[in-house]
């Protein structure tokens, strides 16, 4: 990715993503309970939380996939739910747990994503080639995505999210089932993207990864933000994992299960 982002923090700085009072309930269960969050432009932001904390629901509402019951989200100052088309131009998203058009080849799928965004044919063709090489998918560009492994599928979805050089990347569980080599590869791409002024939001429950990779982090549990700030502020002297367990609570119960040691 060589796309420049010259507009480094202006005055006053507009956050890359601003969530305002986002809330969503599914039946009797409140999945997201009024979340406010500012993601500064140019940051590498981690969203961590236990399973079922509302991470995916929050990110879906922030990216225009799921209509919130209350509140809204702003991408670089553009209201996602008032001007969805404009906001969607600014971001690339990798949703978790959704299918791809997997009867296309990898190359066709990324091309499709580019053309859907109304991009020029030549630009798409050139970027698709570079993206596939950068993600080490060049050798399988002509294979149907349905025959890809889980990790390759994640990577091709990432390529589809990057094709239009978005200013904000929202990645839900991007490293799930990705092998360490590919993960390092993806991390390198994301880091240079952030270095050139882009903003990345990743959700994950691998604390080590977030601690190493992100500069900011928000801890979500039970549909609320428990803490948010820079990684160093949040963790203090402890590791992020310890701090996380401390914030979310529980986890230290090791009595019981004696039978597991008796075979």
């Amino acid at each position: 990715m060589t796309h420049p982002h010259p507009d480094s923090p202006a005055v006053p700085p507009v956050p890359a993503l601003a969530l305002r009072g986002l809330a969503k309930r599914f039946g009797a269960k409140i999945a997201v309970d009024g979340i406010n969050l500012d993601v500064p432009a140019g940051s590498f932001y981690g969203v961590v939380g236990p399973n079922g904390a509302g991470k995916t629901t929050t990110l879906s509402m922030a990216t225009g996939l799921l209509r919130p019951d209350f509140g809204t989200a702003f991408i670089h100052g553009v209201d996602v739910w008032a001007k969805p088309l404009e906001a969607k131009k600014l971001m690339g998203i990798l949703p978790d747990g959704v299918r791809l058009f997997d009867r296309l080849t990898g190359e066709q799928l990324v091309t499709y994503a580019g053309l859907l965004r109304g991009m020029d044919k030549e630009v798409v063709a050139q970027r698709v080639g570079e993206l596939l090489e950068a993600l080490d998918l060049g050798g399988d560009a002509g294979t149907l995505v349905v025959d890809y492994s889980a990790g390759m599928t994640k990577k091709i979805a990432l390529a589809s999210a990057l094709i239009h050089a978005p200013r904000l990347l929202v990645l839900d569980e991007p490293f799930e089932s990705v092998d360490p080599v590919s993960a390092a590869n993806i991390r390198g791409i994301l880091e240079s993207y952030v270095a050139s002024g882009g903003t990345v939001i990743v959700s994950s429950h691998v604390m080590d990864l977030v601690q190493r990779m992100c500069d900011h982090v928000a801890v979500v549990a039970a549909g609320r933000i428990l803490a948010a700030g820079t990684v160093d502020e949040l963790r203090g002297d402890a590791s992020l994992e310890d701090r996380f367990v401390q914030l979310v609570g529980g986890g230290s119960r090791t009595e019981g299960l004696e039978w597991l040691r008796t075979f």
């Binding site: 058009f101 066709q108 053309l115 999210a161």
Partner: protein, 523 residues
């Protein structure tokens, strides 16, 4: 263990209903329908109690055999195989095969079709309420017969869903199996006609069928009522042997299905070939059309519906040859147009959650609708043209050509417009991407049915003008009315097409996230 499986099935049924009010309503409609059908058949069986033995015997045997055929064909044809207790899910839980089979077979009775069949079958004991042995025989026959129905349908679905492990083979086989199934009509018709030429063919047919595995269990009660003990014993043995053989087959198929490892991808292929994306204009609409058309060819769920098309003329030619008149062939054009236009009414449901890409890229609703409709149109237009013109080379009645052309294109364009609206607003429960066209997720089948039937009703209303003038031409014999039909079809059709695209596109723009939320429910 059997009890566990039964309670699991019951729990799944209840929880499926609990998932959304729509599914509760769907389930209620389905239950009402099943109850009505079962009650009607039960009353008929009670009435047969006072019929003479011969008639009652024939009716019960033929009805039972038809039910058994239904249990084979419905899962295949309506792709409504009940996969709530997919045996593959028990692969890791170390359940003894014997108990697994028994549990799954009995669990097949929980649910509307199973319960309805069981109740109706048990009513045959009322029909044979003529002597103690007859009632006993009918009871045995009913139990064995219903179990055979369930196991037979399991054997067929297991066989078709585990034909081979590779995706490519699965794709091809799941399409190819449609051919004999669709041609079954003509095949069956010729068999029936052969039989019907003989006098008193129904009792004869029943007598023959009663010696086959299909009819044997349903015949035991009747044979005992008419005092033919030997025949009853032999048929009881046939029924039990059939059930045994079916269990053995199922056991073997399931064993193979459970240990066959999933197919892991082939060798890598370099890129450079964009396929249809190179042919269509590089715009959102063009890209969507290219993607849709690729799916028509590559996705067995679409390809299967495309395969029906060339078989239509075969079926009609067969029937015309039997009837000795080719005039019915003219319906091919409108019918092909109807099937093809309506086939994209569940387009977004077929995308499943992959639709997220359209939502995320902020593609405009109109582009989405138009691309999908154009992909379908590029296939449908030549096909409908051939279907509309072709029959006239056989009938020679060219005066009807303009009218039939007008009706065909009216149906095609109006249908595409309506489909574009329906698929932007309503989801249907369809086989998931990658699944065989036969496999269907459990749940709101009734909602799907309501959407499909309602949509088809509206489509009939939309083409009323064309239909009226076709009727006028038939009534007056004045061929000028055919040209009026053609004019209406070529004007009204495209107008409704454009309107459908606009309305559907607008709905998609406004309700995209809501539509996506519906898709996630069916994931």
């Amino acid at each position: 263990m059997v009890a566990h499986l039964l309670s699991l099935k019951w729990r799944l049924l209840l929880n499926g209903v609990r998932r959304s009010p729509a599914q509760l309503v769907g389930m209620a409609i389905g239950a009402l329908y099943a109850f009505g059908a079962a009650a009607g058949l039960a009353v008929a069986l009670v009435v047969l109690r006072w019929a003479d033995v011969q008639t009652a015997h024939s009716a019960v045997v033929l009805g039972g055999a038809a039910a058994m055929l239904g249990w084979v064909l419905v899962p295949l044809l309506a792709s409504a195989a009940d996969m709530t207790l997919d045996p593959a899910r028990f692969a890791t839980s170390a359940i003894p095969m014997r108990q697994l089979l028994a549990g799954l077979a009995l669990a097949g009775l929980i649910g509307l079709p199973g319960a309805a069949t069981l109740v109706v079958a048990l009513f045959t004991t009322v029909t044979w309420w003529r002597s103690v042995p007859a009632v006993g025989g009918a009871l045995l026959g009913a139990v064995v017969g219903v179990l055979s129905c369930v196991v037979l349908s399991k054997v067929v679905t297991t066989a078709t869903s585990s034909l081979a492990a590779s995706r490519r083979f699965k794709d091809v086989s799941s399409i190819v199996i449609f051919v004999p199934l669709i041609l079954m009509g003509p095949i069956f018709a010729s068999v029936v006609q052969g039989v019907s030429r003989s006098t008193y063919y129904l009792p004869d047919l029943a007598r023959t069928v009663s010696w086959t595995p299909l009819g044997a269990p349903w015949s035991i009660g009747g044979d005992l009522a008419s005092g033919d003990v030997l025949a009853a014993i032999v048929k009881a043995l046939i029924s039990l042997a059939t059930l045994g053989v079916l269990f053995v087959c199922w056991n073997a198929l399931l064993k193979r299905a459970l240990v066959t490892p999933p197919y892991s991808g082939g060798s890598g292929k370099r890129g450079g070939k964009l396929g249809l994306f190179g042919l269509f204009p590089a715009t959102p609409t063009g890209a969507i059309a290219a993607r849709s058309l690729s799916y028509w060819i590559r996705d067995p769920r679409y390809a299967a519906s495309l395969l029906v098309i060339p078989l239509l003329p075969v079926i009609f030619l067969f029937q015309s040859a039997q009837a000795g008149s080719y005039s019915m062939l003219v319906i091919l054009g409108p019918m092909g147009a109807f099937i093809l236009a309506w086939s994209i009414a569940a387009d977004v449901s077929y995308d499943n959650t992959a639709f997220a890409l359209h939502l995320a890229t902020g593609v405009r609703g109109v582009h989405d609708r138009l691309g999908r409709a154009l992909a379908c149109l590029s296939l449908a237009f030549p096909i409908v043209l051939i279907f509309a013109v072709g029959p006239f080379f056989l009938t020679g009645d060219w005066a009807w050509l303009p009218g039939i052309l007008g009706l065909s294109f009216g149906v095609l364009f109006s249908g595409l417009g309506l489909s574009s609206i329906v698929s932007a607003r309503y989801t249907s429960s369809v086989p998931l991407p990658g699944d065989s066209p036969f496999k269907k997720p459990p749940g709101n089948v009734a909602q799907t049915l309501a959407v499909q039937l309602g949509g088809m009703g509206v489509l009939l209303l939309l083409v009323v003008p064309e239909v009226v003038f076709v009727i006028v031409q038939a009534a007056t014999g004045e061929s000028a009315w055919g040209w009026v039909t053609l004019g209406i079809g070529l004007v009204l059709g495209p107008v409704l097409f454009a309107t459908g695209i606009r309305i559907g596109g607008g709905w998609l723009d406004r309700r995209g996230p809501e539509l996506f939320a519906q898709l996630i429910v069916n994931r």
